[in-house]
Amino acid sequence: MRSGAARWFNLNGWRDIIIAAPYAWLIAFFLIPFFIVIAMSFAVTAPTSPPFAFGDGFPWIDMRNFARLFGDWLYVRAYLTSVWNALIATVLCLLVGYPMALGLTRVSRSWRNILLMLVILPFWTSFLLRVYAWIGLMGANSWFNRGLTGLVNMVLPADMALRSIPMMNTNFAVVLVMVYSYLPFMILPLYANLEKLDQTLNEAAMDLGSRPWRVFLDVTLPLSVPGIIAGGLLVFIPASGELIIPSLVGSASDPMIGRVISDEFSSARDWPMASAVAVALLFMLVIPMMVYQRFEAKAQGEDAQ
């Protein structure tokens, strides 16, 4: 018996175990929960425990949640707010991150290693504490808010002078903290892309008489499009479903979709509605997600060659 098991293991068993163990885990704890969310979105809330019920007749599907989703301005507005905030954060990350990534490729090798480490360092410290750091800065009494208020008051007429700038609990705060938190996700893929570019192309364009600005527009920028897309998706996808940042610094009257899902689920205990909002969010993200996945597959393929 024992030798039989050993023979099985040595022949093919080890291979089956290597595939089956992670496969089974992901089916049990990722795929099945995912299907539960989809099924739940077609159920209705009920005063039972757990708090849901399916429709009576076949196929037990109830579209009430989705009708509410598209009929209620509150939900539509939350989607629009999420996409808008995530889009602005992505564009700002690109505007700040691109010159930084390009700058990193132009400094000396030893400086480059130190600076790259400094880009990654905040990423390894707690996400929550990075949000927290900004809560301290944005408060009405902080040195940052006072300084900024002073600057603004210099240009404002005296009778319109502000006491402080109301930054906390606004969409401005959400975008600012999202840019701060997700900037490394933009810089790192851009840097990886720009570093691989052939410098001789730049030199050739310069030798042929192009100005630096034209060299950038005609040579560097088009060649860095893959890095821009990768970085942009790495910022946009998590930003549009973000929960922590809008909960801590965002506006309660104009919430983002992640917060709506969490509130429907925990406070309202409406599992079916929370699931329907989640399914709609996934539909919204499916195109950027597929683009990203194809991109990753292509990059993996290139690495293998």
Partner: protein, 279 residues
């Protein structure tokens, strides 16, 4: 290019100021005497003392580290298995679904992963009577699920850039497939396994959203405790906690950087010596 790119250098300076001013401000105010977290009232280290006497924070930190150790270890084993399967087993039944399952948790919004795991645990408790209560086990399971796929990505990319001919040579020389895996493939991926474990450990230690949904009464991790405190406003003891974390992580990242730098230098020197010896 002989002109110094002044514009890019100033962008770098601005960018790093943006990165570090909030963190430095937090560190500065952790030494504040005043209860007000953002108004300076003189130097003091009292918040550090209070932090170490706060058993709630210490317990939460210990629980977080325990969960992170267990979940990172299991996630590394499962994730490395998936990485080997995807990089080395060209064809098996259900490969397409498998590779989809490995990337999906990486791009799934955390809120959705959180509510779906919680619904699974509640329905399982309802139907099969397990898990009886939510806490250490459920949080650990949820952490394993989303951090193992990071390990897979790292191991897979290490294996696809490694030369497969070494493994083929071992097989040609008569090694059994299982021996090839044990003696050749595993040593090749050992650096990837180490960095995968570190990443899984950090992700688990840092997670708020998924833990928030899958934990139960009596199992408060450090991020959940900080989250509930921060919701009520800025307090100086959190500044002190943040400073300790930044110092530990900073020292770790710097040490890793120095070690990598030295290995790089040594390799360069060895390559040059080899070239000289052959030339």
């Amino acid at each position: 290019m002989n002109r110094r790119p002044m514009f890019l250098i100033s962008c770098l300076a601005f960018g790093f100021a943006f990165f570090y001013v909030p963190i430095l401000s937090m560190i500065f105010f952790s030494f504040n005497k005043s209860r007000l977290a953002t108004v300076w009232g003189g130097f003091s280290v009292q918040w550090y003392g209070k932090l170490f006497k706060n058993s709630q924070i210490i317990d939460a930190a210990v629980l977080s580290i325990e969960i992170a150790l267990v979940s990172a270890t299991i996630a590394t084993i499962l994730g490395a298995m998936a990485g080997i399967a995807l990089a080395r087993f060209r064809r098996f039944r259900g490969r397409t679904l498998f590779s989809g399952l490995v990337t999906a948790p990486l791009i799934m919004p955390e809120v959705i992963t959180g509510i779906s795991s919680l619904m699974l645990f509640i329905l399982m408790a309802e139907w099969i009577g397990w898990p009886g209560k939510r806490g250490f086990t459920t949080v650990t399971i949820a952490h394993i699920t989303f951090s193992m796929t990071y390990v897979t990505t790292i191991v897979q990319s290490r294996l696809s850039s490694a030369d497969i001919s070494v493994e083929e040579a071992a097989a040609d020389l008569g090694s059994r497939p299982w021996q090839v895996l044990k003696d050749i493939t595993l040593p090749i991926i050992s650096p990837a396994i180490l960095s995968g474990w570190l990443l899984a450990f950090t992700i688990s230690l840092d997670d708020v959203v998924i833990t928030n949904f899958t934990t139960g009464p009596g199992a408060t991790t450090l991020p959940i405790l900080v989250w509930s405190k921060v919701k009520l406003g800025v307090t100086p003891d959190i500044n002190a906690l943040a400073t300790i974390i930044v110092v530990i992580v900073g020292a770790g990242v710097a040490a890793a950087g120095i070690i990598m730098h030295r290995t790089d230098k040594r390799r360069e020197r060895e390559v040059q010596l080899a070239i000289k010896a052959n030339g």
